[in-house]
């Protein structure tokens, strides 16, 4: 097996439970974070969806939900609530300083599905295309995101 470069090994280590967060970023996924990124990118590519579309949609919903100051807000087909906790989370990629502990819960009234993301999830997706490992609390499956956010390929619009 090829040896990881030290930076990559440090990132993988910081993604483990107990390093930067209690549960970590990898869940029970045994893949490397690089493999998770590549495989998720491939799914979006196959569906013709830009990751930027996902980020824009999630950010817009968080932005709408903030108005509720912790109360659920009706946003079209969705019910959005945003909870803020004191403190900060740090990016395992050592990319940006820190992100506040703000979690968004989205309930899709049409599909009955609920997805959940933090501001750190948004940063990880936007800047690193990292949707976290399977089993992680904040893992969002590409297929679920495409369905719940009603994403369509840009050239089909």
């Amino acid at each position: 097996m090829a040896k990881k470069d030290p930076r990559s090994a440090q990132i993988q280590e910081d993604m483990a439970p107990g390093s930067l967060t209690l549960v970590g970023f990898l869940g029970d996924d045994t893949r490397s974070y690089e493999a998770i990124i590549q495989q998720d990118e491939a799914i979006f590519q196959k569906e013709g969806i830009e990751i930027d579309q996902v980020v824009k949609a999630l950010k817009k919903l968080t932005f709408k939900g903030v108005d509720g100051l912790g109360e659920p807000v009706d946003v079209g087909d969705y019910e959005v609530s945003v909870d803020h906790f004191r403190g900060w989370l740090y990016c395992p990629f050592k990319h940006k300083k820190k992100v506040s502990k703000r979690n968004t819960t989205l309930y899709d009234k049409v599909t009955g599905k609920t997805i959940y993301w933090s501001d750190l999830s948004l940063h990880l997706i936007e800047d690193h295309h990292f949707f976290q490992g399977k089993g992680s609390h904040f893992r969002m499956e590409p297929e679920t995101l495409i369905e719940v956010l009603r994403l369509e390929p840009l050239d089909e619009k």
């Binding site: 910081d14 439970p17 107990g18 390093s19 930067l20 967060t21 209690l22 549960v23 903030v66 100051l69 912790g70 109360e71 945003v82 803020h84 906790f85 004191r86 403190g87 900060w88 740090y90 990016c91 395992p92 050592k94 990319h95 940006k96 300083k97 820190k98 506040s100 502990k101 703000r102 979690n103 609390h137």
Partner: protein, 371 residues
């Protein structure tokens, strides 16, 4: 090749490998031995002799100089900035994202990333020398609400914690469950300085939070807890006739310390404490504050609940606390004569700050700790 030749070859290769390993180890020891280095702090006002090869943050902590840090030396929080005037070597890529152009010009570095390889000249703010480490014991650990615990810690016999109400301490966990290393997080002190020998915190369970989960699931009365501090510049200024305190969730903690201290000292400003929550189960210290209202004409508590349901035991104010704050501020004759002290999450702080500024409270008189 016969057996003797194979044996000799293997033996030769093994011998050469062992010799090379010894040479490399000796070279590493020699090259990485930086010997004893001198840390000259604040132009000679303090000098430390330390073993080279350590990181500056750890070396200073070992000498009881505690530089604030929230990530424990992982170069992810950027809090441990200090000025290294000489001897630090070139800026590392891991430090770059955390330092502005101005800070770089002024020799700021991240103490957790600077390895001591030679004598260093440092500038450390004087107030950081007041920061000490305390080994305490859990005296009381009880539920204040469904998700907030009171943690009352007993300081070592004879130890005094000099802090200003509103300041915070760093609280160190021990390894537990999957957490293999000690971590530390910042929590506001909720007790007043007059509680000699003890210090209290109100710690809210944060989903998946390493330290809050430790407090809520692994900590027990009698356990030892390491603290360092005090830190922060959130404290009472006392330059106006009106003091407004606004908090939500565990944000009540430093406001309690401020209110109890001011009332005990006989501060004559009019003090209003606004506390916003969702349901009756989120309220705490209500009785204590109602008692204070009865005893002091210049103190009042305003609570409001935003998610009251039928059957809830609540006949007080409802809706967001900012609505009631807005109404009260509009009644003030001189909103410029107000100092506001806020504590809560960033979203909460932003909305309260907007209400205050919209009502004429000068931004320079609004204080909060954002951590």
């Amino acid at each position: 090749m016969n057996f003797a030749e194979v044996f000799t070859t293997v033996l030769s290769i093994t011998g050469i490998s062992a010799a090379l390993t010894i040479i490399i180890s000796l070279a590493e020891m020699k090259l990485n031995d930086y010997g004893i280095c001198t840390l000259d702090i604040n132009d000679g006002s303090k000098t430390l002799e330390v073993q080279g090869g350590q990181y500056l943050l750890n070396s200073l902590a070992a000498n009881k100089i505690f530089i604030p840090s929230a990530c424990g030396g992982k170069a992810t929080c950027g809090l441990c900035k200090l000025q290294v005037m000489e001897g630090a070597g070139p800026l590392l890529p891991t430090e770059e994202p955390y330092l502005t152009e101005e800070e770089r010009e002024n020799h700021y570095r991240l103490a957790c990333q600077v390895k001591i390889k030679s004598d260093l000249k440092l500038h450390i703010p004087e107030e950081l020398f007041n920061i000490k480490e305390y080994l305490t014991n859990v005296d009381v650990l009880e539920d204040l609400t469904h998700d907030i615990k009171l943690v009352r810690l007993k300081l070592p016999e004879g130890e005094v914690l000099n802090f200003k109400p509103g300041q915070f301490m760093q609280f160190y966990t021990k390894p537990y469950d999957k957490i293999k290393e000690s971590v530390f997080r910042a929590y506001s002190i909720s007790s007043p300085p007059s509680e000699e020998g003890y210090v209290e915190f109100c710690i809210r369970q944060v989903p998946d939070g390493i330290c809050t989960t430790y407090v809520h699931t692994a900590l027990n009365e009698g356990d030892q807890v390491q603290l360092s501090g005090p830190y922060g510049d959130f404290f009472y200024r006392g330059n106006t006739k009106t003091m407004v305190m606004v908090g939500g969730g565990s944000g009540l903690a430093p406001l309690r310390s401020l209110a109890l201290d001011n009332l005990a000292k006989g501060v004559d400003a009019n003090m209003s404490l606004y506390f916003g929550a969702q349901k009756p189960r989120d309220l705490y210290y209500t009785e204590e504050f109602r008692d204070l209202e009865e005893k002091h004409d210049n103190f009042k508590l305003i609570q409001s609940l935003s998610r009251v349901e039928e059957g809830d035991d609540w006949d007080g104010l409802t809706g967001r606390i900012t609505v009631h704050l807005d109404e009260d501020l509009k009644k003030l004759e001189d909103p410029t004569d107000v100092e506001a002290y806020l504590c809560g999450g960033p979203g909460f702080l932003a909305s309260v700050r907007k209400v205050l500024i919209d009502n004429g409270v000068p931004a320079s008189q609004i204080y909060f700790d954002e951590f």
